[in-house]
């Protein structure tokens, strides 16, 4: 039997971590774009658009991410599309992240004082102008900390894509375990790598929250 050193294991896991990072970035950015669209639907004047966005969010927040991945992976195949694992993984994670980001941002927009809407309306601003010049600049300040906090959920969410066969950190962990028969070491290291990715994000979210709140109190 071939002997594997801890360094052999760690090196292979770190190589796979690239894909975890790349997939996280794609999902976070893509989810942000779709989430922004959801936010606009969610606060639109038309009731039908508002409920559309609401049902979307409830569907994606009320079902397991794993099921969404399975449906993207197996479901799209039915339409004659050949779905590689990375495509299904990216698509499902973007749609899933969008639901959470859209809802987080809606809370931030609603946290902006009602008077700001009225004041900007009284200046004859249209709905989009109000958002662009008055509401979003204030809401964005509130949104920074929870948005950074949610990025941790995205990094952890990418672990599930190993189940549909996308080779990232978790899948590499399983593969390396099967080769080395050292599950304790391998999964311990995998957990530590995820921790190294997520903990700085969690911490900066906490720091930002404190900083922005303090700034807010000084007004």
């Amino acid at each position: 039997m071939i002997e594997f050193t801890t360094w052999d294991i760690l090196r292979n896991l770190l190589l796979a971590t690239r894909w975890t990072i790349l997939l996280s970035l794609v999902s976070f950015v893509g989810g942000g774009v779709v989430g922004l669209a959801l936010l606009f639907l969610r606060i639109s004047k038309r009731k039908s658009l508002r409920s559309l966005a609401k049902y979307y969010i409830e569907l994606f927040q009320g079902t397991p991410l794993l099921m969404q991945l399975f449906i993207a992976f197996f479901g799209l195949g039915l339409f004659g599309i050949d779905v590689p694992a990375w495509l299904a993984a990216g698509l499902a994670l973007i749609l899933w992240a969008a639901a959470f980001l859209g809802e987080i941002w809606r809370g931030c927009v609603e946290a902006v004082a009602k008077g700001q809407w009225e004041a900007s309306a009284s200046l004859g601003m249209g709905r989009l102008q109000q958002m662009r010049y008055v509401i979003l600049p204030q809401a964005m300040r509130i949104a920074v900390a929870p948005t950074v906090g949610f990025s941790v959920q995205v990094v952890k969410g990418t672990a599930l894509t190993s189940i549909i066969g996308f080779v990232e950190l978790s899948k590499a962990g399983t593969v390396v375990t099967n080769a080395t028969f050292q599950p304790f070491t391998v999964y311990g290291l995998v957990a530590l790598i995820y921790f190294a990715l997520c903990w700085p994000l969690s911490k900066s979210s906490q720091v930002l929250e404190r900083k922005l709140n303090v700034a807010h109190r000084n007004h």
């Binding site: 569907l59 009320g62 079902t63 397991p64 991410l65 794993l66 099921m67 969404q68 399975f70 449906i71 197996f74 479901g75 195949g77 039915l78 339409f79 004659g80 941790v152 952890k156 969410g157 672990a159 599930l160 190993s162 189940i163 978790s170 962990g173 399983t174 375990t177 050292q182 599950p183 304790f184 391998v186 999964y187 311990g188 995998v190 957990a191 995820y194 921790f195 997520c198 903990w199 969690s202």
Partner: protein, 223 residues
Amino acid sequence: MNYQFEFGWLFEYYPQIVKGIAITVELIAVGAVAGISLGIFCAWVRALGPSWLKPIVAAYVELIRNTPFLIQLFFIFFGLPSLGLQLDELQAANIAMIVNLGAYSCEIIRAGIQATPRGQFEAGASLAMTRFETFRHVVLVPSLQRIWPALSSQVVIVMLGSAVVSQIAAEDLTFAANFIQSRTFRAFEAYMVSTIVYLALAILLRQALAAVGGLIFPRRAAR
């Protein structure tokens, strides 16, 4: 596209689906009760407990909150046997869910405790209550009441996250869906139906938790 959707054949597999639902429900019931209890203990340690225990609990909470549930599950199921701790699938799934919810609920409950006015502790002391009695009667219950909605959301998130226990062959709802998929090759229908069942479970669980909250927390006196 020439795929014909058919759902009728699913009835053939209803015993598997029902069994899967039962196991998912059992996992969340055990997970919620034991996980929230663990969370209350950890929140007590972090807020008022002995100082030697604080860093241990803090490390546990940070470690669990910043790693994926799937890896925690794999570590418990595949990794712990190297230490001589052999668990079956259901035990591993239960422990993983308790450990996971324990860490999240600790943070949520701690936030509730921190929002308690200092005067409440002094009021408890002035009634000759010990620190523990003050915590139990004066601090904990109003804190839980304050954060109950956030705690309920977290329980629902953990229930949905439990779908991955199928990966260690615990026979939950997702396991049933995978089983049906591998027998019939009708992936879309199998996953569609189980997704709808999960959605229904999430809605029911949310309502059940709201009802529990209404029962254990007396309505606040009108001011």
